[in-house]
Symmetry: none
Subunit: 249 residues, 2 copies
């Protein structure tokens, strides 16, 4: 049992139980206490654990589960059919914006083989398209670890320097009163993308319709079309305001 293997075991246990003791470590790995101590010290030097008297503790107590992926996992079928429809609106040569919504993310799989340019602030979108035919452009700025996307002033300014034919965006809610978001940062990005594109598509599954959350950040006129799987009756009030409705097949 060499140092590298022990190091792994130590970090494994720390990840599970959060702490470790010298004596227990020495018995478990069948090494002397001084060696156990040396191991912990070395790992502490690299900042991989926090050395305590008689043992060690985990440094980073909580690892964020990428709740984005979880969120993205909800209602996949509906989202996929929305995105399939959205993909028909995209032609080779297009330059498009994609924001960091979970529905928009599902669009990636349908455009991988298109010769287009995608401008996005979403890290998952970048990963998904990184080795595809799509040419990528990343919005820079502060990275929001919770949303896995770039936000902030610099990001906003950065978007204003680009111009795209189409934007594919998500929101947290939509009603005849307009568009709703859960955060101001996200709302600012969505607005910027919409303003800088010639035609803006809103991708929203049935659950988003008539849902009015925290922030009413824009009028319906910000977008040109809505792609949705919702019942056409529920969309009447939106349609009346001159927004095109694209229903999934």
């Amino acid at each position: 049992m060499n140092f590298q293997k022990r190091k792994q075991k130590i970090l494994d246990q720390l990840n599970v139980s959060g702490e470790i003791e010298i004596k227990q470590l020495a018995t478990e790995l069948d090494i002397s206490e001084i060696t156990a101590r040396r191991d912990l010290n070395q790992l502490a030097l690299d900042g991989l654990l926090y050395r305590t008297r008689g043992g060690a503790m985990k440094v980073n107590p909580l690892d964020k589960p990428t709740d984005f992926v979880n969120k993205a996992a909800q209602n996949i079928e509906a989202k996929d059919s929305i995105c399939r429809k959205a993909a028909t609106q995209i032609n080779d040569g297009d330059i498009i914006f994609m924001d960091c919504g979970s529905t928009v993310f599902r669009l990636c799989q349908f455009i991988k083989n298109k010769k287009i340019k995608v401008i996005t602030n979403s890290l998952p979108v970048v990963y998904e398209l990184q080795s595809s035919l799509v040419s990528l452009n990343i919005i820079g700025g502060e990275f929001d670890a919770e949303r896995l996307a770039v936000h902030g002033t610099i990001a906003h300014e950065h978007i204003l320097r680009y111009r795209a034919a189409k934007a594919f965006l998500g929101v947290d809610g939509i009603s005849k009163k307009g568009l709703f978001a859960n955060s101001e940062k996200e709302a600012a990005i969505t607005t910027a993308f919409a303003q800088q594109s010639n035609y803006t598509y809103l991708l929203c599954d049935a659950g988003k319709i008539d849902r009015e959350t925290y922030l009413n950040f824009a009028d319906l006129s910000l977008v040109n079309a809505i792609i949705t799987d919702a019942d056409v009756n529920k969309l009447q009030s939106i349609k009346e305001q001159g927004i095109a409705i694209l229903l999934v097949d």
Copy 2:
């Protein structure tokens, strides 16, 4: 049983069990221990495994095997010790630049638990630090799928809007004539990072010293310090130009 066949067997076993021991290898393949050792050393040079005392381990058992990491895997031990040294130069509260070099990438593991801000144009760095204590800032612009990093005019402008205490950068070569790169895009980014930081560290393993590749893009004075595992004698001409030399422990 020639080297090629042994190499295959070694890598096979590593893929299955994740580790291998010299003694076991020698018995199993009916070769002497020194030959087994030589095999492992050679494979480690190519970055195909991580040499440990008494055996070897799979390259990055914890990390995802992206193409990039494989490239980064060359000379891991040297790069890791360089980065361990580099990490000692970083304190909580620091704002630092990190570019898209493969050595710089290895720095991530040593700074995951530091409370710092990292500004980078490298996607692997973002990926690695995305769920750490580090606060991230992404340089925006055109995404270069080959280097998995952001480059171009916008990226360059974006960097100029930031200011950091320290920059940790890589190059393709360094000699008394200055710094060398394999592409103009990369050179521009490196230069920008260096100019916008108060103190610039160059991380370069021994192979980079006195290597003069395609583009001589900057004078040595662009950087303040070099962190390297190279022999001190080879660094004399660099030291004479007033660059600080930090040798690995």
